[in-house]
């Protein structure tokens, strides 16, 4: 048994039966981190001392019977979630030395479970990117092929789970930033319905699209983590005041009567043949398991989603990132007496190329004379995209697509072509526009490189997509394969 390869539910059983201690489990992860980090580069900060002291405390909680499923289980947190007293950089020069004075709600909620926090993971700067190449600190490498990207923006979290550096991780998803790296690294990643998980303490990128979710080794773990982090929070006014179910209760394998739609528009031009074949085979497997599949479903406005997203997300980002002025926290340019020059230079040197590109794009779309033509137009197209999903969900319980049109691409391949990079998220970003829940699970390999399948549900139907994903994992073993590293 390699302890750092255990799932949450496997490790939990061993912890409560005292066959394994949290300290042992934590040491195994820390040792694995030492071993593979020089190759993978998934972690921005390692909190070894904290982890070992939390593990000791967790062992005491378990001995006293005062524990739940996440107690004593090692976790990594994406570096855009505030952790009190632990540097939170957003992989940006702007926040390189920022130490939050408070915890994000999701971190608070994990802390109630007696967690073991191993550290913080690398990402594209301010979560803007699809490969972690836009991290201002370093690029994370895909454990399945170190010359390729792990996806992004939660590339550090996905790569670390794939490389067994941690038992699970948290990511955030604005246009695919949990699902696309989960697909690229052959792990399980869930973006919950917008409003399901509190965004308080998540460094804001695009406030109407951002959502935090789990990155795990299987669907059962995903349900356990969602149980811990979901729920209403009065500090996030867009958090939804509805009770959350126990997400582990939906994990059956009976798909009889479930109606699944396969929207043709997601099998786009430029899609890799092996990806399309793997996803069609995976859907056939679901059909065998009892699901009723409509292969010719259609969402005709899908082709406008990329443009709408890349107006809306940068517009919101340009407003959210206006706060970085070098006065209250973060990088601050001092070598001038002019207030305006200090602000402009702070932002010039503090932000990387992709962040600047999006601030510029968003500022333009919101500026006088262009606001109606770009921003309002994109919001109207957003309405149509959402309506189209609503109509589809009158007929289907879930929709299935590839997570990304290709397998992981080479480091450097798309870095100079923003549009090609943006197209990597063409299958995932419509889901954020509509605020829907979606999960990516491993669905095969092409020449040893991972392929992800995306299962999309109607708002607040996480149980349905978890059930379909779980049934698939019970019938296949793609999610159990591990990279040789």
């Amino acid at each position: 048994m390699i302890t750092n390869q255990l799932t949450i539910h496997e490790a939990h059983k061993l912890l409560v039966s005292r066959q394994l201690s949290s300290v042992e489990l934590t040491r195994a992860c820390l040792e694995r981190i030492r071993q593979v980090e020089p190759k993978v580069h998934a972690l921005v900060t390692i909190t070894e001392e904290l982890a070992l002291s939390q593990a000791q405390k967790a062992d005491e909680l378990i001995a006293a019977g005062d524990n739940n499923t996440l107690t004593g289980i090692p976790v990594l947190i994406k570096d855009n979630m505030c952790t009190k007293g632990i540097r939170t950089t957003c992989s940006s020069r702007m926040l390189e030395n920022f130490v939050p004075p408070y915890d994000a709600t999701v971190v608070e909620k994990l802390n109630e479970c007696g967690p073991v926090v191993l550290g913080k993971t690398n990402m594209d700067e301010f979560a803007m990117g699809s490969s972690t190449e836009h991290s201002a600190l370093f690029t994370t490498h895909n454990p399945w092929d170190l010359s390729r990207v792990p996806g992004g923006s939660s590339g550090g979290s996905a790569a670390a789970v794939a490389a067994s550096e941690t038992i699970y991780a948290l990511g955030s998803d604005t246009g695919g930033s949990i699902r696309q790296p989960a697909g690229f690294c052959s792990v399980t990643g869930l973006k919950p319905t917008y409003g399901r998980v509190s965004r308080y303490g998540l460094v804001a990128f695009a406030s109407s699209l951002d959502q935090i979710g789990p990155i795990t080794q299987d669907v059962a773990d995903c349900a356990l983590v969602l149980n811990a982090i979901a729920g209403y929070d009065s500090r996030d006014s867009t958090s939804v005041p509805e009770p959350t179910p126990d997400y582990t209760r939906c994990l059956t394998t009976d798909l009889n009567g479930l109606r699944i739609g396969v929207p043709g528009e997601y099998f786009v031009e430029g899609m890799q043949t092996e990806v399309e074949m793997a996803i069609r085979a995976a859907i056939s497997k679901l059909e065998e398991l009892g699901a009723r599949v409509e292969w010719e479903a259609s969402l005709p406005h899908t082709r406008y989603a990329l443009a709408a997203y890349y107006i809306i997300a940068p517009s919101e980002a340009s407003a959210n990132l206006a706060r970085y002025d070098g006065v209250k926290y973060g990088f601050s340019y001092q070598d001038t007496n002019s207030m305006w020059e200090a602000m402009e230079k702070t932002r010039q040197y503090g932000f990387g190329a992709e962040v600047k590109r999006r601030i510029m794009l968003g500022t333009h779309a919101l500026s006088a004379g262009y606001y109606d033509a770009w921003y309002v137009k994109a919001q109207k197209v957003r309405t149509i995209i959402r309506q189209e999903f609503d109509q589809a969900f009158d007929k289907f319980d879930a929709l299935i697509t590839p997570t990304s049109p290709t397998v992981p691409f080479k480091i450097g391949e798309k870095i100079d072509d923003p549009l090609q990079m943006y197209l990597s998220d063409v299958c995932t970003l419509p889901i954020n526009i509509a605020g829907l829940p979606a999960i990516s699970i491993p669905a095969g390999f092409a020449d040893g490189l991972p392929i992800g399948m995306q299962i999309i549900g109607k708002p607040f139907s996480e149980e349905t997509i978890l059930k379909i994903a779980h049934a698939y994992q019970q019938a296949t073993d793609w999610h159990k394969r591990r990279p040789e590293i």
Binding site: S208, S318, Y329, Q334, E344, L361, S367, T383
Partner: protein
């Protein structure tokens, strides 16, 4: 439609974003190319469609006016690039 150099500088000024000459040129190319691709939005008939700002239609979120402690001043000021006693120190606003 290609953005002019002046337009790029105007946007940068609105965003209070300093740019090098090389960045101005590169952004002019890249933003023009992206916006040209996004022109596709104009093909969609939205004459009778309202805009959506948020995917979940929550309205009028109100809270009870409860007294709660704020973060201690020292913690808030701990990340200040320049501090002057109990204040953030800033450059002169009026010259």
């Amino acid at each position: 439609m290609k953005l002019s150099r002046e337009e790029v500088l105007h946007i940068a000024r609105l965003a209070r974003l300093g740019l090098t000459e090389a960045e101005v040129n590169k952004l002019r190319e890249q933003l023009s190319n992206l916006l040209e691709n996004f022109e596709i939005l104009q093909q969609v008939d939205t004459s009778s469609t309202p805009p959506t700002a948020h995917s979940i239609a929550l309205q009028n979120i109100v809270k009870d006016d409860e007294v709660a402690p704020s973060l201690p001043q020292d913690q808030i000021l701990a990340n200040a690039p320049r501090r002057d006693g109990e204040c953030f120190r800033v450059k002169a606003v009026l010259e």
